[in-house]
Symmetry: C2
Subunit: 365 residues, 2 copies
């Protein structure tokens, strides 16, 4: 049963649990129940023809007296971008985020520079950005395009970058992966280092968004700073495999949505990638040509702790979520973690803690 053939947690629960139990399990594990979106028939037909999964859910907020609902459709997807973006457009999607380094295999395990660094390109006017600008303009859709960036203006340094393209087709800006893993097959610092652009938030026509790339999801402070800068939706384009992180996956992005009163979108690849030359993984095992399967399971989480089911663990997919962004402020006004957050104390404590002569507060008998 282990491996990519187990389709999804949700399918398994729905198949076996009696309805009243299923409702309780979902209440505890998934928060309030989401309404399924009534997506157009031609979208499902196109998805079936192109052989990818399509799911849609609505996150609703209470009606307010002063503000109208601030509905935005976001989506998270895996690959085969153009066909999938067209289906997203049929579904009325406003903001779409692709997976991490979507133009290339996740080859950083190989530690080979060539041919993989040939995928690196300019964030501002590389072929991928130009391609995405056309998509964005044609479909009136904000496109978040995570790529391997080559920064020719600064000594040809490579970065793990997400380009944010406005629905007008203009490049709104870029943001870089702030935390770089050194774990198992993911020692990516062979190729690029920690991002130097801080925590920018992008004001789009549909809401304020930020991009926490991959390994940054393990760092609660990374989510927090995007939230402090005003992000209402934080995308987390990732590439992560079953053996390493599958039991962390349902926890981290969801905790971030709760802790920061915002929406988060956790996006992962599917499938297994085979490389021409063998490599080792720092785990004492024999050299091999793949390092396991990316388990997909992309989902969207809300500030009230509700979440969508995950997309398939093995098939390409498009997850459409209709968010009422008013929910962020509504949940904030109930819980208000920023009001009770005491950031001044933590700024001070962290500034002390990073000093080389810091002495931890340990009470001994």
């Amino acid at each position: 049963m282990a491996g990519a053939e187990w389709k999804s947690l949700e399918e398994c629960l729905e198949k076996h649990l009696p309805l009243p139990d299923l409702q309780e399990v979902k209440r505890v594990l998934y928060g309030k129940e989401l309404r399924k979106l009534d997506l157009p028939r031609e979208a499902f037909e196109a998805a079936s023809r192109e052989d990818f999964e399509l799911q849609g859910y609505a996150f609703e907020a209470a009606e307010e007296q002063l503000r109208r609902p601030r509905i935005v459709h976001v989506s998270a997807l895996h690959r085969r971008i153009k066909a999938i973006v067209e289906v997203a457009a049929m579904c009325g999607v406003n903001i779409i985020c692709f997976q991490e380094a979507w133009t290339m295999p996740f080859a950083f395990c190989t530690r080979e520079k060539l041919p993989w660094t040939e995928f690196a390109e300019s964030a501002e006017d590389g072929p991928t950005t130009r391609f995405c600008q056309k998509l964005a303009k044609n479909h009136d859709m904000v496109v978040v395009s995570p790529i391997l960036e080559r920064d020719s203006e600064h000594g040809d340094v490579l970065w793990n970058t997400a380009v944010v393209i406005s629905n007008s087709g203009a490049v709104l800006g870029k943001t870089r992966k702030n935390h770089i893993p050194r774990v198992g097959d993911f020692n990516e610092s062979t190729y690029y280092m920690e991002g130097n652009l801080g925590h920018p938030v992008f004001q789009t026509q549909f809401g304020r968004i930020a991009v926490n790339i991959c390994y940054g999801r393990h760092h609660p402070l990374n989510w927090l700073m995007y939230s402090i800068n005003g992000a209402e939706i934080i995308f987390n384009p990732s590439a992560t495999i079953g053996a390493l992180s599958e039991s962390l996956w349902p926890i981290e992005a969801r905790n971030a949505a709760i802790a920061n009163h915002c929406f988060t979108c956790a996006i992962n690849r599917v499938g297994t990638e085979h490389f021409p030359n063998e490599f080792t993984s720092g785990d004492g095992k024999k050299a091999h040509q793949d390092f396991g399967y990316f388990y997909g399971s992309s989902y969207v989480a809300a500030p009230d702790s509700s979440r969508t089911p995950g997309l398939s663990r093995s098939r390409d997919g498009l997850l459409v979520a209709k968010l009422d962004l008013n929910l962020c402020q509504q949940v904030n006004d109930v819980w208000n973690f920023k009001m009770t957050g005491r950031y001044e104390m933590y700024a001070r404590e962290l500034a002390e803690a990073v000093k080389s002569n810091y002495s931890p507060t340990i009470v001994k008998e």
Copy 2:
């Protein structure tokens, strides 16, 4: 089905899922499978006689060349302290943590000062601390005793405090609730304010422990500072109800264990508490004399993302966990979030962000 009568998530899954599916569901939701502890027969008999639930699980670590396993038995419990502590002793427990404000009903919803503030007592030599010192010494057990503290030496101020008592019977110290809720029935700032003792960690004979009281679990920085100060186990004694937080409960303490490479113990009350005078909850509803049921579901989570099942949602219980603390460093050395945490950058960013003239980093078209 809604309400306290639904026994537990785990019981429901085990009853209905075929074994291969159950194993996959548990792998994704609970991490690696834990071994059940072989607790003594007389412990189960005593638990049955006293009518509380008893469960035990082992968290194991890999064998190392230089360090022996650092086994510690911890437990989390609900109430009826003495009888339960005796059963804990039979089970070889080394560190025990009671629930938040365990000596009193969670009466802060009433906003009445009397009679409730009569429960407040000295952390250093109040009757509860003296009672716990005897328990600690008799059973060679570290006792964490969360109480309502009256600080007579500083103007009779009240605090939400946990007293840490060494297995020698000596009071090792105290720690205070750092984040105070102002939500629904939990506007506790009527009684006590944010703790002023920072993030102390207590070096016990069995390992380094810290106490993140209740609402602090929603604040990732609170967990982080205890971890930076060296905590290997962070207890989270809480009092929280179904309607407010049940779908957050399985996420937050577990995310903290993952993010900080430590163990966390999430502890909640069970049952419904009725108060003599009616009160309102700031939710537009009629006055009432209880605010819903505490859903128990106490659990222990490990740095490798594994966790125990939850205790019952409705019965008193004692959860015994056998932890090999070597797991903390082992997981740290694989993932190493502190190495990649960039705390210097965050100390700087937070110090800026709290200034009244801070301008968030927002990119506009």
